[in-house]
């Protein structure tokens, strides 16, 4: 059980860092999707089954589709790519920094000797759907607004310019 958690968490981190470091934007998007997939495994193991499904479909699926749509709408000309290589140079420091930060955190955790909480049991009587529809009406209302927002965003931001601004 714990092994799967460690492995999927590690994969999530590695794919995430890959997504940040990879200078090809398409591969970065795929890295993000893989990171998302690892997270959804993690969520499933941790007991959040519904969230895991959503993670897989929305974040790993939909968001990647959005990014790929964005990429296909914008093909950088060749000379521009050269400029973007600078990204790669700047991001090359990232693993080192991350390892440093990770070591620091580990040392901190070891020296502070904090009393860490344990993972509790998954309560059987709670159903996500009940909680969502019964208790989180405000969030649902917010989601409706968010989706409306997204609709307008697609309509406004992605359309080709027909009329120039005066």
């Amino acid at each position: 059980m714990n092994t799967i958690i460690y492995i999927s968490a590690g994969l999530m981190l590695i794919f995430g860092v890959y997504a940040v470091m990879e200078h090809s934007i398409l591969r970065a998007a795929i890295g993000l999707a893989l990171s998302s997939a690892s997270l959804s495994v993690l969520l499933y193991v941790l007991g959040a089954h519904l969230a895991a499904v959503f993670e897989l479909s929305v974040c790993s699926g939909l968001v990647t589709v959005i990014f790929i749509a964005g990429i296909s709408l914008s093909h950088s000309p060749k000379m521009e790519i050269q400029k973007e290589y600078r990204d790669k140079e700047r991001n090359r420091q990232l693993p080192l920094v991350l390892i440093g930060a990770g070591l620091l955190l580990v040392i901190l955790a070891l020296t502070l000797q904090l009393q860490t909480p344990q993972l509790g049991e998954v309560a059987a009587d709670q159903d996500v759907r009940d909680v969502l529809w019964g208790n989180r009406q405000a969030d649902i209302w917010g989601q409706i607004a968010l989706i409306l927002c997204g609709g307008v965003a697609v309509a406004v931001l992605f359309r080709e310019e027909r009329r120039e601004k005066k």
Binding site: V20, A29, E80
Partner: protein
């Protein structure tokens, strides 16, 4: 070093990577990807918090809502980036020099 600590550290590193991307990358879409990477870690934190405090169902509803928000942010970010691409013909942040003062 138990499970919770390890997951917290991994999450923090991931947020760090996302913020790094936000601050230091030149590519507009990459910046949006950076936001998403950091959001992954936040999702993990929320579920972890649910497990620790024993209200997993509640945190699951949070996670679902966050995902919707995440997707819309990706839409808006990509849309703006594409708009900028149409203006400049490139996705380079260094082109953004209109606003100075």
């Amino acid at each position: 070093m138990n499970l919770v600590t390890v997951l917290l550290i991994i999450g923090l590193l991931m947020i760090f990577a996302g913020c790094w991307c936000l601050m230091r990358t030149y590519h507009l879409l990459k910046i949006t990807i950076g936001i998403e990477v950091a959001m992954k870690a936040v999702t993990l934190f929320l579920v972890l918090a649910g497990r620790i405090s024993g209200s997993l169902a509640l945190s699951e509803t949070f996670v679902i809502t966050v995902m919707v928000a995440e997707a819309i942010v990706a839409v808006v970010g990509t849309g703006t980036a594409v708009g900028l691409f149409r203006k400049y013909g490139s996705m380079d942040v260094r082109n953004l020099k209109q606003l100075k003062g």
